[in-house]
């Protein structure tokens, strides 16, 4: 619904402008702006207040609730005109309008933004009041967006991309377009004063095709891709399903055309996914850009090219599917922050683009994985198994479960049939959690979770309690050290 609006008369600066005049941030002492009485009086500006509290445009609540309002009006109009008569109907609509206006007035009074010290604060909500504090250093990019509805009013929305993972978490809506532009410039200037976060550096490189081609380091055999996709449960069970259909056709005369058609559709649906993967992983090549970044290219119908910087790789997963074990194959997937895969037509697509290797042998993986995570040998990880007593909770999985703190990364193994090794470099750990369920408590076990951006957490299940806490402590220490070393 929202469209990025860059009207020609307002060319938006893509890079941060020159730094603003030096200001003295004072983060230690700040006025308490939280509380039932929302507005700190503009009369007492605090020394650390860089941008005093501003209200959003008065039309903002109306625009935000316009869709709900439309639905309500439609609901009322449904038979409403006949049943109530035109007079009463108009009265109801007027009442609704008054309600919206009152709500908007209240919401407008409470909503607003301000910059205090090094952080942007966004106040919103009438019943559920929320104050969001966004450190300016965390701002990755700021986008000025003009949704269709806001355009006639000349209003715009500021999307603050904080996570860098493609999800704008903190919208600031709505502001007059000029003010939005000015605020964007101002915020970027404030944000870039710290060298840590340079706004707008998300290295999206759609122009990969124009660059001179560097030699491929590795090329996945297309035959292997085809065979590996045939060795998946949906394809393996398809012959049985086809036999069933044929059997029904032969022996059951009452079998209708529609039943056959639906079954054929179902079979096509099951085979569809592996077929799409074969097309997607066709001609899978891994190259290395001059700046140490990996370039992954693949695709038959739609050629995809993707550049992955080693520092953007959040975690790496090696999977051994049950049906591939005979071949000794595995696949390697990456979780990348702010991953954007751009097709040949410049179109963002939703196809699986997280593969480092769609299918490979252990030896290949040992050669390729260090390109993504230097120094990682997936066959030489020192992992410790779970204690004997975990058998009460995981009788079969107990033999598989293992985890450990290796030199550069935290690694866990799980999965009885589809075995999975997850590796999280210490520098990419977001947070650490320990949980202890009632049964685990009885056995003195706990689960350690390591949270990473853009993927499910790596879980070390059923560790001895003391070890779990030692690990949690050690993980936070090592994560800090790794971060410090990387900066």
């Amino acid at each position: 619904m929202t469209t990025p609006a860059t009207p020609p008369e307002h060319p938006l600066p893509t890079t941060a402008p020159s730094p603003s005049p030096p200001e003295q941030p004072n983060p230690s002492a700040r006025p308490d702006t939280f509380g039932p009485q929302p507005a700190t009086g503009p009369g007492q500006p605090h020394p650390s207040q860089v941008i005093p509290r501003q209200r959003l445009h008065p039309l903002s609540p109306v625009l935000k609730s316009v869709r709900t309002l439309f639905l309500v009006v439609v609901a009322v109009s449904w038979r409403g005109v006949q049943n109530l008569g035109p007079d009463k109907y108009a009265l109801v609509l007027l009442g609704l309008l008054a309600l919206v206006l009152v709500y908007s007035a209240v919401a407008w009074r409470f909503s607003g933004y301000e910059v205090i010290g090094r952080e942007l604060r966004i106040h919103e909500g009438v019943l559920f009041r929320r104050t969001r504090a966004v450190p300016l250093e965390r701002l990755q990019a700021i986008e000025v967006v003009q949704p269709v509805l806001a355009r006639p009013a000349g209003l715009a929305e500021l999307k603050l991309d904080v996570a860098g993972a493609g999800k704008a978490e903190a919208p600031l809506a709505f502001l007059p377009l000029a003010e939005a532009d000015a605020l964007r410039t101002r915020l970027l200037a404030l944000a870039t004063r710290a060298p840590a976060a340079v706004a707008g550096t998300a290295p999206a490189e759609p122009a990969a095709a124009e660059r001179p081609e560097e030699p491929d380091l590795y090329r996945v055999d297309n035959n292997d891709v085809v065979v590996s996709q045939f060795l998946t449960p949906p394809v393996m069970f398809t012959p049985l399903a086809v036999l069933y259909i044929v059997g029904q056709l032969v022996f059951n005369s009452e079998f209708g055309v529609f039943a056959v058609a639906s079954m054929v559709t179902a079979v096509a649906g099951t085979i569809g996914a592996p077929l799409m993967r074969i097309l997607n992983f066709w001609n899978f090549r891994i190259g290395r850009a001059p700046d140490e970044r990996l370039r992954i290219r693949h695709g038959k119908l739609e050629t995809r090219s993707q550049v992955v910087g080693p520092r953007r790789i959040q975690s790496l997963t090696v999977t051994w599917p049950l049906l591939w074990r005979g071949k000794g194959w595995l696949r390697v997937t990456l979780a990348v922050a702010g991953q954007s895969s751009v097709g040949a037509d410049g179109q963002q697509s939703r196809a699986e683009t997280d593969r480092l290797l769609p299918v490979a042998t252990v030896d290949t993986a040992r050669a390729i994985v260090p390109l993504a995570l230097p120094g990682l040998d997936i066959t030489a990880l020192h992992l410790s198994p779970v204690p004997e007593r975990a058998r009460w909770l995981a009788p079969l999985r107990r033999r598989v479960l293992a985890a450990g703190l290796t030199e550069h990364a935290f690694a866990t193994v799980d999965g009885l049939l589809t075995r999975q090794l997850t590796v999280v470099p210490y520098a990419r750990i977001q947070s650490v959690r320990v949980t202890e369920g009632p049964w685990q408590r009885r056995l003195g076990l706990a689960t350690v979770y390591v949270d990473v951006a853009g993927s499910t957490p790596a879980a070390a299940v059923h560790r001895p309690l003391a070890e779990a806490f030692t690990w949690a402590d050690e993980l936070t220490t090592r994560a800090r050290a790794a971060r410090a070393a990387a900066v």
Partner: protein, 176 residues
């Protein structure tokens, strides 16, 4: 309703997710009004369910409605106990470089969130929370699974915590 395990210091051997490093940390409890808030929430939902039962009984005078009402009351007792225990279990500790949050009695959770990983901090207060003079602080990192939510804080304490977190988060790190 006092739980001796939370009041008395634990023996060194009995480490749990509620006190992983005994003696090393000073855990701050949340406001005792959180218990009242949680009980009010349970009471409101019970009142709603009882009202539904009453309406059904009024129109059908079926015995099932009365049975359902009794079931609702039993459920309320259980939920009340669980809510009180859960509310009391919340605690947080500010270390030099990370924030620790613990909660839960049946399943015990401990979260360690480094300040350097913080993306933004939310202070949320719903209508009921404001009635009790409480607020919730939520710490967000780039990982969706990170779980650092501290309910039942004094608005002043919530503001202090937010300011401290924001100030510490500025120190280092890129968030990713």
């Amino acid at each position: 309703m006092t739980d001796p395990r939370l009041e008395a210091p634990l023996p060194t051997a009995a480490r749990s997710a509620l006190d992983p490093w005994p003696g090393e940390l000073t855990w701050r409890p949340v406001s005792s009004r959180l218990v009242a808030l949680e009980l009010t929430r349970v009471a409101i939902s019970t009142a709603l369910m009882l009202a539904v039962c009453a309406v059904i009984w009024f129109f059908t005078s079926s015995g099932w409605a009365l049975f359902a009402a009794v079931a609702v009351l039993v459920l309320t007792a259980v939920r009340g106990v669980v809510a009180v225990r859960a509310a009391r279990s919340y605690g947080y500790a500010e270390r030099e470089r990370d924030l620790l949050v613990r909660h839960g009695r049946m399943v015990r959770h401990l979260s360690i969130v480094p300040y350097a990983r913080m993306q933004y901090v939310d202070v949320v207060a719903g209508p009921l929370e404001r009635g009790f003079g409480l607020a919730t602080v939520q710490l967000h990192t780039a990982a969706a699974a990170s779980d650092a939510t501290i309910p039942g804080l004094d608005p002043a304490e919530a503001a202090r915590l937010r300011d401290r977190l924001a100030a510490l988060g500025e120190d280092a790190g890129e968030g990713l």
